[in-house]
C-alpha cells in the first residue's frame, strides 16, 4: 500500500500530523446538514438559534467537528486500521472558527487482535479553546509481516 504506517515506526509521545480546518462557513453547515440528515435549525437558522439562547446565532454541528477529527486521524492512519474513535464535546464551535486537530500516541501494545496504538486527540479553535477531547486506537501492520 502507498501510505502504510508501520507499528515499529510509531512510538509513545509521537505527534500525529496536525490538521487545520476553516474558517468554517455557514454554507458548510448547510452542506453538512444535507449530507448527514441533521436538520436541527440550531445549525442553519440564526433567528432560531437566537430564540433558543445562542446570542451570536447558529452553532456548528458537533458531528462536523468530529468529522474533522476523523479526517485528521485517517489522513495519518488508514481507515481500515482504525478500531475505535471516541470524543467528548467540550465546547461549542461557531462559523468563523478555524479548528486545529492535534494528537499524540499514548500507548503501544501487542495483543491477540494485533499491534495496537492508542492516541489522544484534541480539537481547538484559533484562540486555543478546546472543542473536542478524543481518543482512538488502531491496529497497525508490522514490518515483520
Amino acid at each position: 500500500m502507498a501510505n502504510d504506517l508501520y507499528f515499529e515506526d510509531v512510538n509513545v509521545g509521537d505527534q500525529m500530523p496536525a490538521l487545520s480546518k476553516g474558517p468554517i462557513l455557514k454554507l458548510q453547515h448547510v452542506l453538512y446538514a444535507g449530507a448527514s440528515g441533521d436538520f436541527n435549525p440550531l445549525h442553519t437558522d440564526d433567528d432560531f438559534a437566537r430564540a433558543v439562547g445562542m446570542k451570536d446565532g447558529v452553532i456548528t454541528h458537533g458531528m462536523l467537528v468530529m468529522g474533522f477529527v476523523g479526517q485528521a486521524v485517517t489522513s495519518w492512519v488508514p481507515k481500515r486500521c482504525l478500531k475505535n474513535l471516541s470524543v467528548r464535546f467540550a465546547g461549542m464551535t461557531r462559523p468563523g472558527n478555524t479548528i486545529t486537530i492535534t494528537g499524540a500516541v499514548t500507548e503501544k501494545r501487542q495483543e491477540a487482535s494485533g499491534n495496537i496504538i492508542t492516541c489522544d486527540v484534541v480539537a481547538r479553535d484559533e484562540a486555543g479553546d478546546v472543542k473536542i477531547m478524543g481518543r482512538f486506537s488502531a491496529a497497525l501492520p508490522s514490518r515483520q509481516g
Binding site: 500500500m1 502507498a2 501510505n3 480546518k21 458548510q28 452542506l31 453538512y32 444535507g34 449530507a35 448527514s36 440528515g37 441533521d38 436538520f39 433558543v52 458537533g62 458531528m63 462536523l64 468530529m66 468529522g67 474533522f68 476523523g70 479526517q71 486521524v73 485517517t74 489522513s75 488508514p78 481507515k79 481500515r80 482504525l82 478500531k83 475505535n84 474513535l85 471516541s86 470524543v87 467528548r88 464535546f89
Partner: protein, 149 residues
C-alpha cells in the same frame, strides 16, 4: 426529564442502503480530500474493495432515519435542552456501497448528575450495533446526550 424506566428499551431498527454518492457527499461536506472516500480506483489501490464509509458516516443512517427524534420523544427528553455530550464508534468491518446496514438503537443508561455549578442534568446513553446484509457486525455507535433541567 428523561424517563429512566426506558433503560434497556430497544427501538425500531434503522435500515440503510449505503450508496457511493452519499459517502462522497459526506466526505465533501467534511471537506476531506482523501481520495479513498471519493474514487474507487484510489480506494482499491489502498486495499479496499470500493470507497469505504468514513469514520463518522453512521450519523447518516441515524439522522436520516429520524430515529433520534423518535427516541427523544419516547424518553420525554426536552429537545430544546439536549446537548450532544459524547460520541464513540467501534469499527469491526468496512461499510461499503451496496451494503444494507441495520442497527437497533438501545437505551443503555439514564443517570442524573449534578454539574459543578449545581445544575441537574440527565445523562442518556444510547447504543446502536450495526450489522450488514450478511449478518456481520460492522460497527457500534454509542451516543451520550445531556439534558439540562
Amino acid at each position: 426529564m428523561a424517563d429512566a424506566t426506558k433503560t434497556g428499551k430497544e427501538f425500531a431498527p434503522i435500515v440503510w442502503e449505503v450508496e457511493r454518492g452519499k459517502i462522497r457527499e459526506m466526505a465533501k461536506a467534511i471537506g476531506d480530500p482523501n481520495p479513498v472516500y471519493l474514487e474507487m480506483e484510489a480506494a482499491m489501490k489502498e486495499g479496499y474493495r470500493d470507497i469505504p464509509a468514513p469514520p463518522t458516516f453512521l450519523t447518516v443512517p441515524m439522522m436520516w432515519s429520524s430515529s433520534m427524534p423518535v427516541l427523544i420523544n419516547d424518553l420525554k427528553i426536552n429537545f430544546m435542552m439536549v446537548l450532544h455530550g459524547e460520541e464513540e464508534y467501534e469499527f469491526y468491518r468496512e461499510i461499503y456501497p451496496g451494503d444494507t446496514i441495520t442497527g437497533i438503537p438501545k437505551v443503555v443508561s439514564v443517570e442524573e448528575k449534578t454539574s459543578k455549578t449545581g445544575g441537574k442534568m440527565d445523562m442518556i446513553t444510547v447504543e446502536i450495533l450495526y450489522k450488514n446484509q450478511n449478518d456481520e457486525k460492522v460497527a457500534k455507535a454509542r451516543t451520550l446526550m445531556v439534558e439540562r433541567k
